[in-house]
Symmetry: C2
Subunit: 308 residues, 2 copies
């Protein structure tokens, strides 16, 4: 089977068709139309087997997650995702694997109406690269560099669950069946916070998605905005599953430092009810983690970084 057949057979027909795509898969390049007064927002993310997902991960979940992490980048900007391209490197033509992978990918693409407009299929070690394209009205994107002293720092959802799932897979912790299911689902099928992001346009001063861990990613906001922050770590949103599965200190460390949650961390001068306020932006540079007793806590881990 040629790479062309492969793309057509497993991928092209499962994805939403959009009227702004003049030419999708099937030529040397795709051709798309950008509405007037909109800007193009793009990001690229690679998942390497054994590095970004455990080798035992189901192909449906790999497909789902590969798109989810890219959609999360759109959420971090406040952009609406519209098109994607897929560069798939795999060791062989495993039709069952491809069928399942494409189903997981298409499932999430359908939810957010993202078209697959192009791709490249190559032979080699399993690696999935997706480039996502989104649209946003001129000058409304939420960037990392807009945090201001006095801003409240919020996060969506709960933190540390994906880290718990990875710890379970690595047999560092033993979970109940339901806890395991929840944590693995949070690891394999993160929810890109696109609705929340959309609601935050005009409200958030800065935002980032938490892929490498709260401390590392909030650190990027602080650096880009040239500000510091105090975190009230006892305010971190922890799921019941996380709290019941590991000691409190471990839960905090996972919430602070484990990656892969893909929740949003954002700052705003407003007070919001729908999200958890975890601290404040301050003029003093540096990131201070405070307990409710006011002690300064030094977290055991820093966020996940490749090449460590």
């Amino acid at each position: 089977m040629s790479e062309f057949d492969l793309i057509y057979r497993y991928f092209a027909t499962k994805f939403p068709q959009r009227s702004d795509v003049e030419q999708g898969i099937g030529d040397d390049a795709a051709i798309c139309n950008i509405p007037p007064n909109m800007q193009l927002v793009t990001s690229i993310d690679t998942l390497v087997a054994g590095v970004h997902f455990p080798l035992i991960t189901e192909p449906e979940d790999i497909g789902y997650k590969a798109l989810a992490v890219n959609l999360s980048d759109m959420a971090a900007m406040g952009a609406t995702p519209v098109w994607m391209t897929l560069a798939l490197t795999c060791p062989e033509v495993d039709t069952i694997w491809l069928q399942k992978f494409s189903e997981g990918l298409a499932e999430l693409a359908q939810i957010h109406q993202v078209s697959l407009i192009g791709g490249d299929t190559t032979r080699g070690p399993l690696t999935i690269t997706i480039q996502i394209a989104g649209l946003i009205s001129f000058n409304t994107a939420i960037k990392r560099n807009g945090a201001k002293p006095g801003d409240n720092i919020y996060v969506t959802g709960t933190l540390g669950d994906a880290g718990l799932g990875l710890a379970a897979i690595n047999q560092q912790v033993t979970l109940s069946k339901s806890a395991n299911q929840y944590a693995i689902s949070r690891l394999n099928r993160p929810t890109p916070r696109l609705q929340e992001s959309h609601d935050l346009l005009g409200i958030a001063h800065s935002a980032i998605d938490i892929s490498d861990g709260l401390l590392a990613d909030l650190g990027h906001i602080l650096e880009a905005s040239n500000v510091g922050a105090s975190l009230q770590i006892d305010n971190l949103p922890l799921s019941t599953v996380l709290c019941e599965s590991v000691p409190y200190e471990t839960a905090l460390n996972l919430a602070l430092s484990a990656g892969d949650d893909y929740e949003l961390c954002f700052t705003t001068s407003q007070t919001l009810d729908s999200y958890t306020c975890i601290g404040k932006i301050e003029a003093d540079l540096g990131l201070r983690c405070l307990t409710k007793e006011g002690d300064i806590l030094t977290p055991k881990m820093v966020g996940y970084q490749h090449f460590f």
Copy 2:
């Protein structure tokens, strides 16, 4: 070193800055502006070490070629390249390798004024994925499906040289020093035919770049356009080096079937002096290779396909 440092240190500063890039590397996604009346043209291509380039290839050449094959896709559409994103997977942080790779990549980016607007750096087997973005005036893109019976079929440059270079690396042929230098250069540093492509806007009815071999790639035009063709194979443009290095039949087979030349194959109703006419589009489906004696030749190889 974190992936962020890595991207900043080796890549960000070497590339052209463009005023249409509002946000480049350094946030969750890039933000770019599309001029009114222009369409966005995008393509993604992956190079896997040992599959798309020999393992002994110099890092400068890998960088150069990774962009060249993507620019070639822009040329095949008639688009002007503007921005690129790079997803680089490599087994370790080899600063000398990264330095050289980025130099080769930036060298070609500078020639065509392509900005690097984003990237992802991951640990794993050496794989380079580039997504290229280009612009084109509304409804002027040259597609594969526009070939008409009676069209002349043209190619740019000469064919089979990259195949000769690969044969030399694989020790299937022994070349003189200068011939070797020429053939390896054609393999490692293909010239994206962007100027020719621009000149063909409004003239070419269909076009494709020759990445998988003339027969395979012309085959895509024929299939998309629902037409056939006769090729005068004695008219194929062969370099002096190719003709002097291998028997004529081998030269023809390389010109017909070896990939990686990244010349353009296009069809037009006009008669052009600057390119080599190699045949005619016909209503009869199928691709007929004719010798100057009028015999039908059956080529020994078909174009390169992954997963064969």
